[in-house]
Symmetry: C2
């Protein structure tokens, strides 16, 4: 085979990649899908470049889990545990082999274990048939938006600031996004209702609201229980769906508020799940709970989950059995109680958040805080908090921060799809060790002081 | 945590899933994305239902690999081999762990090994930077179409019949597809040129042509070397790209013709790769080679692969490190020469194809073949062949075949996006054992005889 090719490969004067750009196909960004020319893409690239240019800088940017809890042998153990589980459930050796090696059902092979875990951990009681296992929560977002946003009049409502994964997915689908400014205590139902009604006046169809009720990315804000109930009532009254994303709950300390889905009595909630934080991101296993009945020409035609699985069959066919197996093995190891399995990480992340908050108190003592015009919120869990500063926390400021002070953070403006957040900074608390936190916050304080001084000298 | 939830879970009168459809959110298929109401979806469901209703029937429908070559321990061995490889290349234990557990680069972590394998196996010489590792070849299709089809005037050209994965992906993107009837010896460049020019006359922009040059799914046809060269010239002359998909080459016996990509001197080809047949489908690892330079405002801005990776970051973030690691371990085990690793499967599939062709000769002896109006093509490899029959091989006929004769096949009409193929049957040769093949073909011959007789009695 390679013989044929080595002959044909050498007949040209030079391989294609060595020829000048003008002598073959050249594409123009403007001719590719418009999402690729979105300024947001460049903005994100800037952050990546800053991180690469200043490798010694302490970074409060990445929302990655801490790596101290990862053990390679655990993967082998979890995989074997799931295979043993299949055998114990009466599957023949050939069936077990087929499960791991062949194409599988688009909706996934561990839906029963996920459903059990949701009952044990979250009081979410849904049938396995309402679950679709996805390649990370990101694919669950993409499938959900593709199903719900069917035409140019359809609108997705998102808080501002908002997780870029959902707005990015909407962008790929040329879907319309309408933003609702988030308040200090989270999304306000009154604001949301006004936004929904305004979209209707414009002749559009608001389909769903995306929300991270617990320790939101990027702001760190958690919705109160009463706000959750109000949001569910509003969704029912105005006939919209809620897309609930909550990756940080199970790695946050203490008792959590109920998810929207566990409070959902009228199937208003599509719950998106992630194992990226409770197990590990590299697994790329997430899921959607979509228990809404779908009618076809007035007759029952399955659940929304079935429709998501159909879409998935044209995107990734099915989530790799291997990664589902490793996640299943971990779920089996704790009888589905991920909250128990992740008690140590929860305590760790809670501790890191606390040490960042304490570090901020030290770095910006309360007597000088008002004078400096600096404030922050104080999440009790999750990976992020919001720092407010009296200067423009833009890419230029980020560049100065990295170059002159050795500290990196994320401009909150990255997360506002229609502008805003110019004076906000997202600090991630998940990835750093305690020693780095203290040093990083000292550097941050010096950077902030320099910026405040610069603003005043201009004023 | 579960305490809180068990309280809230029990406050409602009944869990949402037990309430009647009318008492909560109910969705209407007509309100969801139009791809979900595509008649093709129901058609495919019909085949699945037939398979489930008649489990004893012998099925020539599934294009799955044969399972006899799969060994579970191989996965563990391959995974360890890749981890050892990383260590041997100087990665620390922490770095190896991070590679497996953390988020990774969207373009993948085994691009260098894939590039080496492509040089060894296929004479395709591209830099690792031009490769994006995907969740199966299906995601590579989706990324490529999303990048290239940016507006309502953009057109993808496909042969008819055509693999449903590509037309399904286009459907999800509301992208326009234009079909070119495939001839007995494959896609004709003259037909393609006429179709491209006709689209231009309509004011549209033909962007790319999808083609499976080797042992096409569904027809089994292979393009000649001269047709490949002609196709590359045509693409260059008319300024379109070729999307080459070739999953069956490495599991087909004998010397293969060169891929379009190995003949490509002007970067006209985006090559989509799959390990589903050469390794195993459950890995869900594929890739795209997209070495086309992209200009932004006239200046070099990387390769098309970079743009595909950006899109991927909003669909699956990255291909699971675990599945990439297993594929990498397999590539390392044979110095990238998958053609050697899969020499046994190649011989097997070649043998099965031969036995189906010999079985057809016996089932439809040449003296009666013309009289019966039955014919077929004779691929030398791949998973599929086309059987032509003098009656409508539609779902009703498939139902009779399964119920009355215990044999299942795929109507070729499923693969014609704009109609056609009513007298065609796709026979898959990959999955069955020799004993099943003979019995299945006997049943098929009896079914065909009954249908021919029925047509004649009506005539």
């Amino acid at each position: 085979m390679s013989e044929t090719h080595s002959v044909t490969e050498n007949t040209g004067s030079a391989p294609a990649r060595d020829t000048a750009a003008g002598s073959g196909a050249v594409l123009h960004l403007a001719d590719l899908h418009s999402s690729l020319a979105d300024p947001m893409m460049d903005t994100m690239n800037f952050l990546n470049e800053v991180v690469m240019t200043y490798p010694e800088a302490i970074s409060f940017a990445p929302g990655r889990p801490y790596e101290g809890f990862f053990e390679i042998e655990q993967i082998f153990t979890d995989l074997r545990r799931f295979l043993d589980h299949l055998s114990a459930r009466g599957r023949s050796a050939a069936e077990v082999r087929s499960t791991l090696f062949q194409y599988g059902p688009s909706a996934g092979i561990i839906r029963d274990l996920i459903a059990e875990s949701l009952r044990a951990d979250e009081g979410i009681d849904v049938p396995p048939e309402s679950i679709v296992v996805t390649v990370g929560c990101q694919e669950a977002m993409f499938l959900t938006l593709r199903a719900l946003l069917s035409g140019p009049g359809d609108v997705l409502l998102v808080p501002s600031p908002c997780y870029v994964g959902i707005t990015g997915a909407a962008r790929l689908l040329d879907a319309r996004v309408s933003v609702v400014g988030e308040r200090d205590d989270g999304l306000s139902c009154a604001d949301l209702e006004a936004a929904i009604l305004a979209e209707r006046v414009r002749g559009r169809r608001p389909r769903a609201v995306y929300v991270i009720p617990d320790y939101s990315n990027p702001s760190g804000v958690t919705m109160s229980l009463s706000a959750r109930r109000e949001l569910l009532d509003l969704a029912d009254r105005l006939d919209v769906l809620l897309i609930e994303d909550s990756p940080y709950r199970l790695v946050s300390p203490g008792i959590q508020l109920p998810t929207l889905k566990s409070l959902d009595r009228r199937r208003r909630v599509i719950h998106l799940g992630s194992y990226a934080k409770s197990l590990f991101p590299g697994a790329r296993v997430g899921y959607a709970i979509a228990d809404q009945p779908v009618l076809k020409a007035g007759r029952a035609a399955g659940l929304l989950a079935d429709e998501l699985a159909k879409i998935k069959s044209m995107i990734t066919v099915n989530t790799p059995a291997l990664t589902q197996a490793v996640v299943a093995g971990a779920l089996l190891s704790c009888d589905g109680r991920l909250s128990e399995l992740s008690s140590e990480p929860s305590a760790h992340y809670g501790g890191t958040m606390k040490s960042v908050l304490q570090g901020l108190e030290r770095a910006f003592p309360s007597q000088s805080r008002a004078e400096r015009g600096v404030s922050w919120n104080a999440p009790s869990g999750g990976f992020f908090l919001t720092l407010r500063v009296p200067f423009r926390a833009d890419n230029a400021a980020l560049g100065r921060s990295a170059r002159d002070f050795g500290v990196i953070w994320t401009p909150m403006s990255y997360f506002h799809p229609e502008g805003g957040g110019e004076h906000g900074i997202r600090l991630s608390t998940s990835y750093l060790r305690a020693s780095e936190v203290d040093q990083g916050l000292e550097r941050l304080a010096r950077f902030v002081d320099a910026e405040v001084a610069a603003v005043r000298s201009h004023a």
